[in-house]
Amino acid sequence: MGAPAMSKTITIDGKNVPFQDGQTIMNAALAAGVYIPHLCHNPQFEPHGSCKLCVVSVNGRNMTSCTMPAAEDMVVANNTPELNSDRKALVQMLFVEGNHICPACEASGNCQLQAAAYYLNMLSPHYTHFYQPRAVDASHPDIFLDLNRCILCELCVRASREVDGKNVFGISGRGIGTRLVVNAASGRLGDTNFAATDKAAHVCPTGTILIKRQGYKIPIGQRTFDHKKISEVQMEPMEPDHE
């Protein structure tokens, strides 16, 4: 038909995947129906490259596929036992770094971290929990912020800056002390112009940014990941917002 012929290709796990100049390996893969696990990537925003779940082996070298532009003749290994085992370890580390109590969390069933854990066959957190004290901020009338569950993917930071034009969120601190911060003198969400209708209020892959009083309203069985794997959901034409 009328679509421009894409003659350039890479191979991912032996499959030919066409790409356009400037397209990342991740986006080329998604367009071709090849799933590469990811958490901090969302095609609606600039890539960030922080979670490292999307690492693939390109001609024998590991690279983050969400930031790496595709180039002709790249031979990419993605769905291999080694890479998936590394990915599982990364997810396990996220679980022990924060305080993720899935059974009581209202994001359960809609959470990408949980869904990624299922996808990667994570059966236990494996590592020792850090039990780090993390703050909650309930000062905003419509939004509850629970940093226990933040994985520092910066999707909210990007959404607030790029879409809402507000810069409500930022990241501060280093290493294990890194935290999501709120851009107000008081540090409280209630003292910003953040609104429940903002894009940033709906992009969090975990249960960190929550619209108040909405928890558990969707019955079990109708939640995003009740019947679909994260690989299916993240391959859908337009990734839905996560609420």
Binding site: A104, E106, V136
Partner: protein, 493 residues
């Protein structure tokens, strides 16, 4: 009364026996007995190491999360905590729960009553009741029951499973579902789900009737023994419907004294503290609630199936009401006080739950989509239900940011704290006093505790495998003798 056995006058010269089951859940209990050289009982106490961290743990959490969070409190009756907390949250969001949601919650609750009572009776109590309290340990469990009475054991399992199915279909999951939300429910019962449950309900009712018959036969074979075992008189407290009917989901609080005289009636539970206080005793982590009007010494009471069947004026389902009348007649027309009558009352309630489920399933409201409401927000919420084990009180205060700032829970087992201690002392006096202590005799104490179906017993006995350690120490704390029962029922020293 045996208050004199609560604290021995001269503990220094007595030897100590500790019955300490090690449990899989947060709560665990132990019994300590102080005996003199002639094995005369001078002190008997039942302690529960309770999950006290909870009230702190919910602080700062958003109120709508709490009903799901509290299900983790207890592995045995999560639905009860879920419902009680949600009733408190209904009040916080100023909701009048729509009729359909109210009925769906009742259905879920009846499923919970059915499964919990079936578990307790068939798995935990029937082996003691059928084989005798000092029968071989290896026999006194569900496996022994299945070998000797295969039909009864099978029906027990089926009743429990049916209750769990009711819970699954109303809450969305077999355990720790999320169907109940502040202000109502997030799902109704589809016609398919209803038909699936209707298929078996006749059979479930028939088996529940058979269970009532069974306990009646057991009881009336040795009425004197069953009546006198751990006998004492007490007040009873429970919720009743505005017309005096048995109502396990909602109502006003009613308390009657040991002579059946009303202490209070149709009390609005959102002001429970005007009627009930909690006393702290140095030797137990669990508080001792008492009825204010009667004071610390006299104010203790019993809750649970026995309290409810004694307290209500009638049961609003036909078969269970007929059984209540027989039960009442047995008690000579007034409240039955026997500790072991808990089992009988429990089975009448199980029959009521089965009948109530059938009635609800035929109600077209269960397919309604009008499931949630809300109104003007309050900063305080109290929710009370009759959980399988008795009155359950959840009380919360939130701040303007909608976070929990204070929580107070009075669980069924806490209401029964003094009563269970009383039962332990009675049995200690009746059966252990002056005797050489054996495992069989110690099991008598457990039988008395188990009649109340306290959470800890339920959890540890779930598979009829309570690990138990009994230590005899002399006054100086030196170990004289130790008896260990492993979870496979084997003994070692």
């Amino acid at each position: 009364m045996t208050f004199e056995l609560e604290t021995a006058a001269h503990p220094e010269n007595l030897k100590r026996i500790v019955i300490e089951p090690v449990t899989r859940v947060e709560g665990h209990g132990k019994v300590t007995l102080l005996l003199d050289e002639d094995n005369r009982v001078h002190q008997a106490r039942f302690h529960i190491v309770e999950f006290r961290g909870f009230e702190k743990f919910v602080q700062g959490r958003p109120f709508w999360e709490v009903p799901v969070l509290v299900q983790r409190l207890c592995g045995i009756c999560p639905v009860s905590h879920n419902l009680a907390a949600c009733k408190a949250m209904d009040m916080i969001i100023g909701a009048t729960v729509p009729v359909a949601a109210d009925k769906l919650r009742r259905l879920m609750h009846m499923g919970q009553i059915l499964q919990s009572h079936a578990l307790h009776f068939f798995h935990l109590s029937a082996p003691d009741l059928l084989f005798g309290f000092d029968a071989a340990v290896g026999k006194r469990n569900i496996a022994g029951l299945a070998a000797a009475y295969p039909d009864i054991a099978r029906q027990g399992v089926a009743l429990r499973r049916y209750g769990q199915e009711v819970i699954r279909l109303t809450s969305g999951k077999r355990v720790h579902g999320t169907g109940v939300i502040p202000g109502g429910m997030n799902k109704n019962l589809s016609l398919d789900e209803r038909d699936y449950l209707l298929k078996e309900i006749e059979q479930i009712i028939a088996w529940s009737q058979a269970a009532v018959e069974l306990i009646k036969v057991i009881y009336s074979e040795r009425p004197d023994f069953h009546n006198s075992f751990g006998f004492y008189r007490s007040s009873f407290m429970s919720l009743v419907r505005s017309d005096g009917a048995l109502d396990l989901y909602h109502g006003g609080l009613r308390a009657r004294d040991e002579h059946g005289q009303t202490i209070f009636d149709h009390v609005d539970y959102t002001h429970y503290w005007d009627y009930i206080h909690e006393e702290v005793k140095s030797w137990s982590y669990m508080k001792f609630p008492f009825i204010r009007a009667r004071g610390r010494e006299q104010g203790w009471y019993r809750v649970g199936p026995l309290a409810r069947i004694n307290n209500c004026d009638f049961i609003p389902t036909r078969l269970a009401e007929a059984e209540r009348k027989i039960f009442k007649e047995f008690g000579g027309g007034s409240a039955t006080q026997a500790t072991l009558a808990y089992h009988w009352a429990r089975m009448i309630e199980m029959l009521h739950a089965a009948e109530a489920i059938q009635e609800l399933l035929h109600d077209p409201d269960l397919q309604s989509d009008d499931l949630v409401s809300s109104g003007e927000r309050q900063l305080r919420g109290v929710g009370v239900i009759e959980a399988p084990r008795g009155t359950l009180i959840h009380h919360y205060r939130i701040n303007e940011d909608e976070q929990i700032v204070r929580a107070n829970l009075i669980v069924s087992t806490t209401h029964n704290n003094q009563a269970m201690n009383e039962a332990v002392r009675q049995v200690a006096l009746q059966y252990l006093d002056g005797q050489q202590i054996t495992e069989g005799l110690l099991n008598h104490i457990e039988v008395a505790i188990r009649a109340f179906d306290p959470c800890l017993s339920c959890a540890t006995h779930a598979l009829g495998k309570m690990p138990l350690e009994v230590e005899l120490l002399d006054a100086a704390g030196t170990l004289i003798q130790r008896l260990i029962k492993d979870s496979d029922g084997r003994h070692r020293t």
